[in-house]
């Protein structure tokens, strides 16, 4: 992990603002109705993004489609390939990985869990070797956290606020997926000439 030249973690954690959580599943929500976007351990600025940009998935949950829609809405320039192999990833300078496992998504993509794990390992090896900037995007919130999803997130960087604090890398938390527009606009929206 230390060999990464620049590793960013943009964890887009969907937190249900008013969710009633039990003691067993209690989360500390950092976002609120008033403060819908919270960034910790630094800041994200557009100069961190180096073109070309690839969006891919590890786990094949539908979150990657949501990320695609978000990027389209902000007018970003990028390539979308949810099942990009490692050799394809090597062609990019920045890769945004939507992590989250979905058996339906894996089934829809015709990929087994083992194949996806192997692809994830190969991708992470490639980004280390090629010094590619990695942004981890977790859009599903607590509802998308499960053993397999967490395994994939761990393979990419680590989970989430604790990992970011430990490694001192910036992390952005969101009240809802739609709030990601605020962050992505700053990073990717075309600048008027």
């Amino acid at each position: 992990m230390k060999r990464f030249t620049r590793i960013l973690a943009l964890v887009l954690a969907l937190a249900a603002i008013t969710a009633v959580m039990s003691a067993e599943t209690a989360y500390t929500f950092r976002t609120s109705k008033e403060e819908r976007v919270v960034t910790e351990n630094g800041e994200f600025t557009a100069d961190l993004i180096v073109d070309p940009v690839l969006i891919t998935s590890i786990g094949q949950s539908a979150d990657v489609s949501m990320l695609d829609a978000l990027m389209k809405k902000v007018g970003a320039t990028y390539t979308f390939d949810p099942i990009a192999p490692a050799e394809e990833v090597a062609k990019y300078k920045t890769v945004i990985i939507a992590s989250g496992a979905s058996s339906k998504g894996l089934g829809a993509a015709g990929i087994s869990q083992e194949q996806e794990t192997a692809r994830a390992e190969a991708i992470m090896k490639t980004v280390e070797e090629n010094e590619i900037t990695v942004i981890l995007a977790h859009l599903g919130g607590p509802g998308r956290r499960g053993a397999l999803s967490d395994t994939f997130s761990d393979m990419v960087l680590g989970k989430f606020t604790d990992f970011a604090a430990e490694k001192e890398i910036p992390i952005t938390l969101l009240a809802t997926i739609a709030d990601a527009m605020t962050v992505l606009k700053d990073l990717f929206a075309p600048v008027a000439q």
């Binding site: 249900a16 008013t18 969710a19 009633v20 959580m21 039990s22 067993e24 599943t25 094949q60 539908a62 979150d63 489609s65 949501m66 695609d68 829609a69 978000l70 389209k72 809405k73 979905s102 058996s103 339906k104 998504g105 089934g107 829809a108 015709g110 599903g140 509802g143 998308r144 809802t176 997926i177 739609a178 527009m181």
Partner: protein, 379 residues
């Protein structure tokens, strides 16, 4: 001895009369399920047709069902909304009725089927204790709606096989699923009554070149796919865009891809066997859940249940559930907003043009209630 015999005969006669009376009353109740709830189409409805117009094989059967056509002022693209696929999931039918009674199209065409599995509205599921109807308060008095079964009435399709083999895929399911219309797509012209109904819908989509099909459902709060859109892979971009729009309106909702290996469902088969963008929407309906308490009209309409509140506290549900429950107003608001945002997303993405006007917003339905947008008789 003689006296005892006379006594028994008298009681036997009384019992026979009482039994006959009970049979008559029960038969009346049973047959009353065949009475359809009134729908009062608004000015946006330009034509009312029957599903058999697209497949005559279901004409004069319990599978035939009304199709409301809302033709826009200008030509454009088209959308089909399926309500009442499962008549024990009432938000779907009620959302369809709201469209029929309010929507007006400036561009494109909207097709609405409020009773997709028409036969399933004529019965309730055995041993569920479900109400046979529910009512909604409106400014003009109460309106009643049917609460039916998940599956085709066994009176219309019987017996069930032990194993249901889905025709086009060979998928094997429990025999009772043979009457579940959302396991029967794309249907067969020579299949069961349920398969003929789903075939008629697929035929309608093909013949009318319908661009978007939205199938409205509800699910138990303990079911993982809830407050969600399930989309065929061809519709993922459209669904993602629509979901973001829904979230901006204040709806918490997630997206699921349609599994390729689960057959018979609208979001899979209509996407595969027609050119439509096929999606399905789910809301949280406590009245069909396994953890529910008393199953009555109040549970259907108000969506409050203390056992689900407790289940949420134990972290056993896939939606938040507090003492406010998930009322029908909220569930219909979600579906209606979803429909409108799918149309908006279709336009935003440059796929075509369809404009559905005169519909209440998510906030309006939640604040004013569904009843505020239901027509009075003759309106």
């Amino acid at each position: 001895m003689q006296l005892i015999t006379r006594h028994n005969r008298t009681w036997a006669a009384v019992l026979l009369v009482l039994t006959a009376l009970v049979c008559v009353l029960l038969a009346q109740q049973f047959l009353s399920m065949r009475v359809e709830e009134p729908i009062y189409p608004g000015p946006g409805v330009t034509e009312q047709r029957m599903l058999s117009d697209w497949f005559p094989g279901i004409k004069d059967t319990a599978a035939d069902t009304p199709v409301y056509v809302l033709q826009g002022e200008q030509p454009g693209n088209s959308m089909l909304v399926l309500g009442g696929t499962h008549p024990n999931e009432p938000a779907g039918q009620l959302s369809a009725v709201l469209l029929i009674e309010n929507a007006q199209l400036s561009v494109g065409t909207l097709y609405v089927i409020p009773r997709t599995n028409n036969s399933a509205f004529t019965t309730t599921d055995p041993q569920e204790g479900a109400p046979m109807r529910f009512t909604i308060d409106t400014p003009n008095g109460e309106r009643w709606f049917r609460f039916g079964s998940r599956a085709t009435n066994p009176v219309h399709q019987w017996p069930d096989p032990e194993i249901y083999v889905h025709a086009s895929s060979g998928q094997r399911l429990s025999g009772s699923e043979t009457r579940n219309i959302n396991r029967s797509y794309p249907g067969r012209p020579d299949g069961t009554l349920t398969e003929k109904a789903s075939y008629a819908i697929a035929e309608m989509i093909r013949k009318e070149n319908i661009d978007i099909t939205i199938d409205l459902h509800e699910a138990s709060p303990e079911y993982p796919t809830i407050n969600a859109v399930v989309a065929h892979e061809d519709a993922m971009e459209l669904a993602s865009w629509a979901l973001l729009n829904m979230q901006m309106e204040g709806m918490d909702i997630m997206l699921e891809p349609s599994p390729k290996n689960l057959h018979g469902l609208t979001h899979r088969e209509l996407g595969d066997f027609t050119d439509t963008y096929a999606v399905l929407m789910e809301t949280a309906n406590a009245s069909q859940g396994r953890l529910r308490g008393r199953t009555n009209e109040a549970l259907v309409v108000e969506g409050k249940d203390k056992f689900y509140v407790r289940a949420a506290q134990y972290g056993r549900l896939y939606v938040p559930f507090d003492e406010n429950g998930h009322p029908l107003n909220e569930r219909v608001a979600r579906h209606v907003t979803g429909i409108l945002q799918f149309a908006q997303a279709y336009n935003d993405l440059g796929l075509g043009a369809i404009a559905i006007d005169n519909m209440p917003t998510f906030t309006q339905i939640n604040e004013n209630g569904v009843g505020a947008y239901l027509n009075a008789p003759g309106e």
